[in-house]
């Protein structure tokens, strides 16, 4: 007897290289749809190696303010007199960002070490800008995020003058440590 036709879901990936994300186009989760100023991006952070410990956390990241050009240089000079002016053809860009961190379960023992190298500025075609050796205004965006806590502060980038479509990538997996997560993207404009 011929059976009734059944529709089956593709539940995963035909190839291990394929992606299993249904929200790839959500704002902030892809470089082609970076989150605009003021829009929070929620991403998941894993902590632990998976066999003696493992926890998932929600990290909410909001780009609150952008300052660039002469105003950014003024603020950088105020923060440290030893900072040098931008290279010819480039300008400083300051971003004020807030990170909120909360555990999704138990034991809530992990923390995320928020480091400078986790944040990178890129041109719209994906070329990374170098990290400028300057001190950003206080509070500087760096520190340890514990569950239930938040951190807010400034970070400095150096971008091409006139680059009106620069992006910021936040890669929580950079810089070692046990916490990891996907790269999220923001408009630096």
């Amino acid at each position: 007897m011929k059976s009734k036709v059944i529709l089956g879901y593709i539940l995963a990936c035909l190839l291990s290289m394929a992606v299993c994300v249904t929200t790839a186009t959500a704002q902030g989760l892809s470089p082609s749809s970076p989150a605009p100023l003021g829009m929070p991006v929620v991403t998941m952070i894993e902590c632990g190696e998976g066999y003696t410990s493992h926890e998932l956390f929600d990290m909410k990241i909001t780009l609150l303010e952008i300052v660039r050009g002469g105003k950014a240089w003024d603020l950088i000079k105020q923060a440290s007199v030893s900072s040098k002016p931008p290279k010819i053809g480039f300008e400083y860009l300051l971003a004020r960002i807030r990170f909120e961190f909360s555990s999704r379960g138990s034991p809530q023992a992990c923390s995320h070490d928020l480091r400078r190298e986790q944040m990178t500025a890129l041109s719209a075609d994906g070329k990374e800008y170098e990290t400028p050796p300057v001190v950003p205004p206080k509070p500087e965006l760096i520190g340890i995020l514990h569950s239930g806590k938040s951190l807010e502060g400034w970070i400095a980038f150096l971008v091409l003058q006139g680059d009106s479509k620069a992006l910021m990538a936040f890669d929580p997996s950079s810089g070692g440590g046990l916490s990891r997560g996907r790269v999220v993207w923001f408009q630096l404009y």
């Binding site: 059944i6 529709l7 249904t22 929200t23 470089p31 632990g48 998976g50 998932l56 379960g105 034991p107």
Partner: protein
């Protein structure tokens, strides 16, 4: 930066390194592969590998390394920038049930057993078991630390719950497991097993069995909830492809349903807290707790044996299990131990032996379990060095005969207490014990 590098990888890790290169924006990164394994092989064999051929390309290994370092990059290899992966189609078919079963089996989407086909209707029915939106992200999962994490939604978890044969009322428990992001198919050359313990009112609400045969194949909820975790780990967590994303040398039969059972909270001796309460949840909350280990042994607790003394010696049987950290220089010889007590055993330990809480029993075992001298020195090379340098108390311990006990606890990590769980049907005072350690818990109530 700027210094050419030619990565040389053992062949079983080809999928892992290629995935990582892709993720970093270098899908055509040059790799040279050598045979696996290299661990424990003498230098002469490693030299043969280098002088031999890449098992994947068939080219001489040294030639590949030199070419990787010196041959100019092609235009394709020079490409950098953003790589976004395509989203796979949502539906397969239409086709006959027989053909669809074959598709699932051939693509490695099952655990080798027949599944319930996840039709749109059945998935919609499963989704009625939760108030959460189908497109809500539940978690991320990866088969091991270096692998890429995959993200999954409520709908994708529902698909796997259907496949496992679960009922919609079990779905919040399955979502709670998925929400931890822990894979049941952790990949390592050792073969991990997992354990799921369910606590709180949901146990009875969905008809789980914590009594006779709780760990056996006799209850629909116990069986299918545990099975769903493995299917999720395989299909949504990027794991479970032997030789690629699963490298457990022997494999582990526990992975079929991950020892899924509820704690017999009603039979806890007075003063003994349920597992979820020990982990910081309220007694009225429903919670899943996940454990990682490898194996379980059974014990007959017939008098006059003092049960806790027997447990002490059993725990020693696990000091070389699992990752074998005991014998790796520079790695703490962390051991894990979890005991599943029939209520009769728990009652005896409370009433006859005076352990007024689970924690008292756990701490007694941790403080009173010691290794023999030969095992201690094998596991503690740094202490052996100190002993030979005359540092006390190691120097004195070194004078002990090989079979004597060294008065240094085996279970020394306060973050990894010996766990005590009550389960079973009071048919006799038995218990089972294994090298399992607690990883994390997730709220079931959050996913109702």
């Amino acid at each position: 930066m700027g210094i050419p590098a030619a990565p040389v990888i053992t062949s079983v890790f080809q999928d892992l390194v290629k995935t990582n290169a892709y993720k970093k924006g270098m899908p055509l990164q040059r790799f040279t592969f050598v045979p696996h394994p290299v661990a424990g092989k003498p230098a002469s064999v490693c030299r043969e590998y280098l002088e031999g051929k890449d098992p994947l390309t068939g080219k001489p290994v040294m030639q590949e390394i030199v070419e990787a370092l010196t041959k100019p990059l092609t235009e394709e290899e020079k490409k950098t920038g953003f790589i976004e992966r395509p989203t796979p189609p949502r539906l397969v078919g239409p086709d006959t049930p027989e053909n669809l079963h074959q598709i699932f089996l051939k693509n490695g989407w099952t655990d080798g057993l027949p599944i319930v086909l996840p039709t749109e209707g059945k998935v919609a029915e499963m989704l009625r078991g939760t108030s959460h939106r189908p497109d809500e992200v539940v978690g991320t999962m990866r088969p091991s630390g270096p692998h890429e994490a995959w993200e999954y939604t409520v709908e994708k978890v529902a698909i796997n719950a259907v496949m496992a044969g679960a009922e919609p009322k079990y779905f919040p428990v399955i979502l709670a497991i998925a929400s931890t992001g822990i894979t049941s198919l952790f990949t390592s050359t050792t073969s991990f097993g997992r354990m799921v313990v369910v606590n709180g009112p949901v146990r009875d609400q969905i008809g789980m069995n914590s009594g006779i045969g709780a760990l056996g194949p006799f209850n629909h909820a116990n069986a299918t909830i545990g099975r769903a975790w493995t299917l999720i780990s395989r299909n949504l967590g990027g794991g479970g492809t032997p030789g690629q994303t699963y490298l457990g040398s022997l494999g582990n039969n526990l992975n079929y349903n991950n020892l899924c059972f509820p704690e017999k909270e009603e039979e806890l001796p007075e003063g003994w807290k349920p597992l979820h309460v020990q982990k910081g949840f309220k007694a009225g909350e429903s919670v899943v707790s996940l454990f990682s280990g490898w194996s379980i042994i059974n014990n007959g607790g017939f008098k006059p044996y003092p049960y806790h003394e027997v447990m002490k010696y059993q725990s020693l049987g696990f000091f070389t299990s699992g990752t074998g950290n005991c014998f790796k220089s520079g790695v703490p010889d962390s051991a894990a131990f979890t005991v599943l007590l029939d209520p009769l055993v728990a009652k005896d330990l409370k009433e006859a032996k005076g352990f007024s809480t689970k924690e008292e029993l756990s701490q007694w075992l941790m403080k009173n379990t010691f290794k023999t001298a030969w095992a201690y020195w094998a596991c503690r090379p740094d202490d052996l060095k100190k002993a030979k340098e005359g540092v006390e108390p190691y120097a004195s311990w070194l004078k002990l005969p090989e079979g004597a006990l060294v008065p240094e606890p085996v279970f020394f990590d306060p973050k990894k207490p010996i766990e005590i769980i009550i389960v079973g049907g009071r048919t006799n005072p038995f218990w089972q014990a294994g090298d399992f350690n607690y990883i994390a818990s997730g709220s079931v109530d959050k996913w109702k």
